[in-house]
């Protein structure tokens, strides 16, 4: 199964709290009026320019093993290596909010409208991540006979030990060029506000791992804990 998905800009817009988090504000912190106003302005620009779309394609565990191995640069042990063999379904994904938003961010920075450019950049980053959250349930709804205890999480190259060069094998299988997402020699996607990865579907417990890998020490985000909690408590 391989499918193209599109959303309205409004559907792709991220939560304000997530954008403010990217701007350095902690949850519950009072947001000054002028920052709220800046967020409103940037959101209006985002809604005008965003073209959110994705492509998702099922992949077998055997095929994904090759994609995940990529160029052999992953660490010896990673969480996903233990997770995906237990999945009931796997699907590669690539999603983008489109190029127009990034172009506007660059224009704003060039004319020193830094605060607005940075806020728009944060909205676009959060929106791109949000697309993966939207794709998970959409993909599960396409699977015949979906089990009630199935949970879905997306995992992306560049995180949790999956080397960023893994995108080359991912792109080779998925071919997201069809929706305008390309990969440069440094494994950066164009448009910039794009994401790629794999959707892992199965019982919630398969996503559980202890963040004690060699690379976990350097990770400041620690989003894995919240992600695991989201699929284990449902």
């Amino acid at each position: 199964m391989r499918q193209r998905v599109e959303w309205t800009p409004g559907e792709s817009a991220p939560a304000r709290a997530e954008v403010l988090r990217l701007q350095g504000m902690r949850p519950g912190e009072r947001v000054p009026a002028r920052i709220d106003s800046l967020l409103d302005t940037a959101t209006t620009i985002y809604l005008d320019l965003a073209e959110p779309r994705a492509i998702v394609a099922e992949i077998s565990a055997g095929e994904f093993a090759g994609v995940y191995r990529g160029e052999g640069l992953n660490p010896h042990e990673t969480p996903l290596e233990a997770i995906y063999p237990n999945a009931d379904h796997l699907a590669l994904l690539a999603a983008t909010v489109g190029a127009r938003v990034t172009v506007r961010v660059r224009e704003l920075f060039l004319r020193h409208d830094l605060a607005l450019g940075c806020m728009l950049d944060s909205i676009a980053s959060a929106a791109a991540d949000h697309l993966a959250d939207l794709l998970g349930p959409r993909y599960v709804s396409m699977i015949a006979g979906a089990a009630s205890d199935w949970r879905v999480l997306a995992y992306s190259p560049g995180y949790c030990g999956w080397h960023v060069s893994g995108q080359r094998a991912l792109f080779g299988f998925l071919r997201p060029e069809e929706i305008g997402i390309t990969l440069n020699r440094s494994c950066l996607m164009q448009p910039l506000k794009s994401i790629s990865g794999v959707l892992v579907v199965g019982p919630g417990h398969i996503h559980r791992f202890h963040p004690t890998y060699s690379f976990c020490e350097r990770c400041q985000e620690k989003q894995c804990r919240d992600r695991m909690a989201s699929v284990l408590r449902c």
């Binding site: 002028r34 020193h112 830094l114």
Partner: protein, 210 residues
């Protein structure tokens, strides 16, 4: 209130039109450009930097102030060049190859300019060779390298090793930063410094150029 104090306070409020007008007026009154820069613009940014370090203000506040700073700095730059006024130092900045995250790096660049440094920003996805080539071409004394992915951090080591291989380490320092980066990593790869946030990065660069 003196005009320079008005410039500094207008900058802190992010009033770029006001700061631009005041700088124009100061120039028209034959005030030395270096005084306008140091006691007006940089004084204002120094307060902003401290407030940001103490979490009294947020990133958007810093960027609004920076916009006001640029409103004045763009007017002063040709005059400073005419007078042969040296900057505090020259720094090459970039996010490493394979990394697109650059908001933190951009903030460091803004605050370095606010501290009187000249910044050559190479953007994101910068290979090690380009960092060092740019530093040599521009006569920079510091390279600032940013990474936000653990898988792109090794490029930082490539930059350090290339500086050493070209025999530049006596006059060219490398400072690293980014969310997954640490002081321990900085020492492990032989970098000359580590900045844990933008304000700290500026302090580290100041120490390196002394």
């Amino acid at each position: 209130m003196t005009m320079l104090t008005e410039i500094a306070e207008g900058l802190q409020r992010g009033e770029d039109d006001l700061v631009g007008n005041l700088v124009r007026e100061a120039i028209a009154q034959q005030m030395p450009p270096l005084d306008i820069l140091n006691d007006g613009l940089l004084a204002g940014m120094s307060v902003i930097g401290e407030q940001f370090r103490l979490r009294e203000i947020f990133l958007p506040d810093v960027l609004l102030a920076a916009r006001a700073m640029y409103a004045g700095l763009d007017l002063l730059k040709p005059l400073l060049a005419r007078d042969g006024v040296p900057r505090a130092g020259r720094v090459v900045l970039g996010s490493v190859q394979g990394d697109l995250h650059d908001i933190g790096k951009n903030l460091v660049g803004i605050m370095l300019e606010g501290a009187g440094f000249e910044v050559i920003d190479l953007g994101h996805d910068v290979p090690a060779e380009r960092f060092v080539d740019a530093a040599e071409a521009h006569g920079a004394s510091v390279i600032g390298v940013s990474a936000l992915l653990t898988t792109t951090m090794p490029v930082m080591k490539d930059v350090v090793e290339l500086v050493r291989a070209r025999g530049l380490n006596a006059r060219l320092s490398v400072i690293v930063g980014g969310a997954p980066v640490s002081d321990a990593w900085s020492r492990e790869i032989g970098a000359d410094g580590y900045g844990y946030d933008a304000a700290n990065a500026v302090e580290r660069v100041r120490a390196l150029v002394k």
